[in-house]
């Protein structure tokens, strides 16, 4: 039951394991229209897994996922495309949905790669390809955007511009965004809700809350927490190797 009309996707105590090893466990979060939810955490903490659970790519999961939209744009962290396919940027843009030419052009212009429209996808640089991926995801005007490190490999000025674009899209389209990012400055300045993962949800809340949280400091180090706050807390639990909470 969707009691709140604005909820797009909701995870309840969700988890996923491969061969009896939990990749992530006990994640509860929700993404609402017009809001940006960001997942942070160290490598292997289950950020991408959580995104894939939310998207329904992983099906045999623990817990529950409720999805209230089918209009989804996805930028995966890793994408391996087989170059046995002759595929131009233009063909890639209409991969999952047929779009009008003007809409394709508009999206490619927004991410600054309109000049690459007729190029072969295999000839693009990493950063250019990343911009095309983002353009494709936003071009279909989705209700939910899932962006897994959307600006990796993009140059410094481009990175800032693309994050501004993501923020703008969230406002204009009133779509919900589930973002995975390593850039803590961006996370802290543009996000409505932060979920800090380390195999489980370490802490979550507004960027301010999370920055003040001691868990966050343990994971990201003193410096990261000084980005927004010098506030200090006491440990309330210790982590095991798998990222679970160690019981005393």
């Amino acid at each position: 039951m969707n009691t709140n009309q604005n909820i797009l996707v909701k995870l309840k105590d969700a988890g996923f394991k491969i061969n009896d090893k939990w990749l992530v466990q006990g994640v509860s979060l929700q993404v609402e229209k017009g809001k940006i939810v960001t997942l942070i955490g160290p490598n292997g903490s289950g950020k991408s897994t959580t995104a894939k659970i939310a998207l329904g790519i992983y099906k045999k999961i623990e817990g529950e996922v409720e999805k209230y939209t089918n209009k989804i744009g996805y930028v995966p962290q890793k994408i391996s495309i087989d170059w046995t396919l002759p595929l131009r940027v233009n063909d890639f843009m209409v991969l999952t949905e047929s779009l009008k030419n003007e809409i394709i052009d508009e999206a490619l212009s927004l991410t600054g790669v309109i000049h690459l429209k007729d190029k072969n996808l295999g000839d693009l640089s990493g950063g250019e390809f990343q911009r095309v991926l983002l353009a494709r995801a936003i071009s279909k005007k989705p209700e939910l955007l899932v962006l897994d490190e959307p600006v990796q490999g993009v140059d410094f000025t481009g990175e800032i511009a693309l994050y501004e674009l993501i923020k703008k899209i969230s406002d204009e389209l009133n779509c919900g965004i589930l973002l995975i990012s390593h850039d803590l400055h961006t996370v802290m300045s543009a996000t409505d809700h932060v979920v800090c993962l380390n195999g489980h949800v370490c802490c979550s809340g507004t960027p301010m809350d999370v920055a003040k949280n001691n868990e966050y400091k343990v994971l990201f180090g003193e410096q990261a927490s000084q980005i927004l706050s010098r506030y200090e807390h006491r440990h309330d639990h210790i982590h095991t190797d798998e990222g679970k909470i160690k019981k005393n």
Binding site: K52, L55, G56, I57, N70, I72, G73, Y74, P76, I79, S80, I81, D82, T84, L85, P86, L87, R88, N90, D91, F92, L95, T96, E97, S98, N120, K140, V146
Partner: protein, 267 residues
């Protein structure tokens, strides 16, 4: 008009080429040429079944090939053997069992060469009907599943995440593969069907820059191969299947020269 065996063969071959063109592109894109081979080898079992039960050949080949495809999926789930080993196992054992069964059927005269390499003399008006109606149905279904199938060929997770149901498209495509083998077995023969699927598509890959163009060139390549091959077959009394595939190879070699030329032009 269809009285002449050669006209019948030509019409049949053209019908087959229209379907193998687009399907062949997917066989190349999804790296399924070995899978196509396995289905084609198992077709012999389907043919023997048709003879023993006095059943329609195309239908019986279609059923057996689909069963083999399902068996493969089950084996992949239940064993730790790699995919190519399973394909080899199914391909050769179904071919062997088919030949053994033929050995028992001494009361029927079998044209094994015709089965393995195609026989234009054997194409009847009924076969034409099966090829053209069956082919039209295959193409229609392929058009319907094009979006999810193509998207998941490019990237499975994108297709799944954005709600295109790639697993269903893949299952339907497997059935289409069994169907094209069933309708083209008489023309090309079961040892060469995969060649008819992949060689024109490979030729098309060499000269095309977009997926749509590759499909169109692949169809054109298949049509030319059929026409060239059949005329050669008539002229020099060579078996139809190998003649068609040799013509396709000839076109493929030509397409290689085209690449060299375009590279020179760029420089």
């Amino acid at each position: 008009m269809f009285d002449d065996f050669f006209i019948r063969a030509l019409v049949a071959g053209i019908g087959v080429a229209f379907v193998t063109g687009p399907l062949g592109c997917f066989v190349i894109w999804r790296r399924l040429s070995y899978f196509g081979d396995t289905l084609a080898h198992s077709a012999l079992l389907g043919v023997t079944l048709a003879f023993t039960m006095e059943f329609n050949i195309a239908l019986s080949v279609f059923i057996i090939s689909s069963l083999i495809a399902l068996t493969l999926i089950q084996l992949q789930k239940r064993t730790n053997l790699p995919g190519d080993a399973l394909l080899g196992l199914l391909a050769h054992s179904s071919l062997a069992v088919g030949l053994v069964v033929i050995g028992f059927l001494t009361f029927i005269r079998f044209d094994i060469m015709g089965l393995l390499f195609g026989d234009i003399l054997a194409v009847t008006v009924d076969d034409l009907l099966i090829i053209w109606v069956g082919g039209a149905v295959i193409l229609l279904i392929l058009k319907l599943i094009w979006k999810p199938l193509f998207a998941s060929t490019v990237n499975y997770e994108l297709a799944e995440a954005e709600g295109l149901n790639p697993d269903r498209a893949k299952a339907i495509f497997t059935i289409l593969m069994a169907a094209i083998i069933a309708i083209s077995i008489k023309m090309v023969g079961l040892l060469l069907i995969t060649g008819m699927l992949i060689i024109p598509a490979a030729m098309a890959r060499n000269i095309s820059s977009s997926p749509q163009r590759m499909v169109i060139y692949s169809i054109i390549g298949g049509l030319l191969s059929v026409i060239l091959g059949l005329f050669t077959s008539l002229e020099f009394n060579t078996p139809s299947g190998p003649s068609i595939i040799t013509a396709a190879l000839f076109l493929f070699i030509l397409s290689l020269f085209n690449i060299k030329q375009s590279i020179k032009l760029k420089n």
